[in-house]
Symmetry: C2
DNA sequence: ACACTTGTACTAATGTTATAGTACAATCAA
DNA sequence: TTGATTGTACTATAACATTAGTACAAGTGT
């Protein structure tokens, strides 16, 4: 089966940032639910082929942020007080760098902004009927 | 007037990567057009409050990638042979992983697919009507 | 020739990121 | 208690990113 998270070691984005983003994404999209246990520090390090210290720091950061709860000797779990993001100030402008990233990458493939945007609208407009189906 | 590029020094993404992306994005969206001259290394460093070396490296990378052309003593210009990539087989489906990446990042910030898409449409729908005016 | 601008090439210093390895603390099960 | 599991803490090392400063190379204009 496919691993829950992905890391691209060639991406200029630091590994810890990629992993934190991946975990937050999994929680946001239901790949991980409240109470779910995350892989152990050591196991995830092996799976992603990164250092255990890096994983441990990400877990610590997420703990600090209130996203997960860690119990020594037991594991790390998705926290219930998961209003996590709803609590923080979500400014629309935070989306801009992400959008720039997308359009820049699309341009590298030869797509114009219009073409890329058209693709998104066509394929993701009613993404609600997606129902990613496979739950754990 | 607003600067052409933005850098967020607190973003875990390295500054050089942010800048390279921003420049590619500006070219893609028409903020910079073929033949347009980029700010000088030193000037851009001052504007963005980053080091000139960092800017120089980004320009060198973009030169290497064929995105810009540099002429010593004159400046750095957006390259015409910018269709570089347009020449290759462009399949719409190639955009899917980029789109998923974007929505994943947006979700990590707490945005739904609809919200992220709405932002794109609002801010990038008619990016063509930029008309920066100043030609060389 | 001269001054000026622009990109390029260095050195050096500092901070961050990632790795390897070891050890310890807390929890659980037998 | 013993052993296994899990998160945490620490040292040390290497690589990368950023900055500051200086100097040089190539082009333009007077």
């Amino acid at each position: 089966m496919k691993p829950l998270f992905h890391i691209n070691p060639t991406d200029p984005m630091p590994i810890y940032a990629q992993l934190e983003r991946a975990i937050r994404f999994a929680i946001t999209t239901g790949g991980l639910r409240i109470g779910d246990r995350l892989p152990t520090v050591r196991q995830l390090a092996v799976d992603l082929r990164i250092n255990a210290n890096t994983v441990a720091k990400v877990y610590a950061d997420l703990e600090q942020a209130g996203v997960v709860e860690t119990r020594r000797g037991v594991g790390t779990f998705v926290r219930e007080t998961n209003g996590t993001f709803a609590r923080q100030v979500r400014k629309d402008e935070d989306l801009r760098p992400l959008a720039e990233h997308f359009f820049a990458d699309a341009a590298a493939l030869g797509f114009t902004v219009e073409e890329a945007l058209a693709f998104l609208i066509t394929h993701f407009a009613q993404a609600r009927t997606h129902g990613s189906g496979t739950e754990r």
